[in-house]
Amino acid sequence: MLEVFIFATLNGLVTGLLLFMLASGLTLIFSMMGVLNFAHASFYMLGAYFAYSISLTMGFWLGLIFAPLIVGVLGAMVERYGLRRVHKSGHVAELVFTFGAAFLIEESIQFFWGPATKNYRSPDILDFPLFTLFGQEFSAYRGFMIFISMAIFIVLFRVLTHSRIGIIIQAAITHPHTVANLGHNVPLIFMGVFGVGTALAGLAGVIAGPVLTTFPGMAAVLGSIVFVIVVIGGLGSLAGAFIASLLIGLLQSYAIASSVGMPDLLDLLGVSFEADHPLNDLWTVTLPQIAPILPFLLLVLVLIFRPTGLLGKREE
């Protein structure tokens, strides 16, 4: 029991931190432009594919450096030449634009790389068990994932709160006109934040690609969960996104590892149903089965009872 719990916690931590790398960029972009970027997970997927292609010739580590840079430049271009143009048509048009961009990126990836799963592998140097607990191994690569995402979180937090550029960004979020009047180029800041946000997503893709498999549907797998996180955490709140990422990661991990279900609950209540009961599926459902829908259930509940999210302030 204890070993299941510890490994579920570790795996949940890995997933949660990975989700945070996506959610942090998404929530930053939202607080700047008020736009939920539907294509965010697509940039994550692009990161994995670029890193795969680079790793074929130059190895994993150069991919780790260059793939996020390429994705960030691409993201900045999308903002500069696409999103900025649509901005004048209103928020719905912007949202629909990012939705279309997500669609197009997925199709482009199928065009350039094909629909098959890519054999993108973690580096051999990290191919050893970091430690062995209760006879189960915890791979060094997962430890590396935890290390990278923690490092990103700390750097991002320091930059945003303690550096000059971070303070300008924060000011541009709340008072864009004042910041512009002070002589800062606000559109450039927007483009930069969009680029950095998408680069972070790309980095998440680079390190997640080998573990979560690199295939054209990988954006769709994480895309809506990342939305769930930024909404639950509170739109625009970085700390909220961090808490919600860990919450969702752990929740899913525990639900998958657990073995309880409706039959146990019914036993506890002393109720039983015939196997041919019309709602038989409901009476036999188990927690691991419904693990994929838990985040969405949480999302709907949060939106009904606390539309601003856990730490959000923005009221529409």
Binding site: F97, F99, G100, F111, S224, V228, I293
Partner: protein, 411 residues
Amino acid sequence: MMASIAKLSLWAGYLLVLLALPQFFDSILSISIFNQMAIAIIFALSYNMLLGQGGMLSFGHAVYFGLGGFLAVHTLILIENGSVYFSIIFIPLVGGIFGLLAAIFIGSFSTRKAGTVFAMISLGIGELIAASSLIFVSFFGGEAGVSGDRTFGPLFFGVDFAQDLEIYYLAAIWVFIATVFMYLFTQTPAGRMANAVRDNPERAEFIGYSARRVRFISFCASGLFAGIAGGLFALNYEFITEENLNAATSGRVLLMAYIGGLGYFIGPIIGAVVLTLMNSLLSNYSELWLLYLGVLFLLTVMFLPRGFAGLIMMHQVAWLRGTLRRLALPYLITGIPAFIFILASIAMIELSHTDGEVFHYLGVSLERGSSIDWMLIGGIAIAAFLATRKSLQQLKDAWEDANTLPGDEDS
């Protein structure tokens, strides 16, 4: 008086076109495309009730379509078993009623706010239902879905609806009825208030309307018609799967309504027709058609924020002033190089993706390995692009010319 006659003849023409279509295109393929169009038109119009008229961006509209469809198939099974006895022409209504019930339940909490909150709730509900459809197998049938048979139940004046053509006439009638009712809805106080709440919910509240209530009414009506479309889908295909209520279907209806034009009642109809045609015809020629669709969608969002219908309506002023003719030549001057550019780009995309060494395109054989061929198409594409760009100014001038009266310039 004149206006109402014009309107009535417009509707009569619509009905006539719907009923006459199979007379001109009677192949099995075209009938199946018309059936898809009929379903898409109702679905896209119902989506426009939300987004275009009510200002509610939904990412989970397929839920009402799919749930309506599932219940319709289950009703078909009940008819087959003899548990209930009525003609299958009412199956779309069954789907509609279930879509309405689902919308009443979900709308009771999701319409409290518009904007991002509504969009996110719709996304969450959509994912929730799509994911649970794989868990509750007895109702949704898992990945295989559920299937029925539409040939049971009492005959409708001797018609048993075994043929697709018979289903088309049934679908045409349903499309007409649904279109009329959705149009009439826009004319009711509820429909008008939906526009008001979309544009300025605060003001609508000040004059005594509950924005939430107005949104709720639009939402329910939209769920009803989405369910009707789902029921029609069930009748046409006689099966339905989880795919019909997941995010991909929700995305497709958004695409249809947006490309067609959200601001106009006719917009989603145009979008549904164009996208269904692209879907069925283009997919025969190229496996990359989704790529083209994505490009078309992004270009529409960027350059035609009001969609195809908006593009047509832009010419209204020139039409009324009788200056539309002056635009024909400038359109040709810009249009021909633009068309060549598109053709050359498609040639390059297809050539780089072709399986064999030789690619046949518009009567020309292009070789994948030949750099001369590549340079030739590339050269044509660049030249056509530059020519298009250069010709834009004359089009702009002609546009100004056609839209200003001789007296206007001085003032």
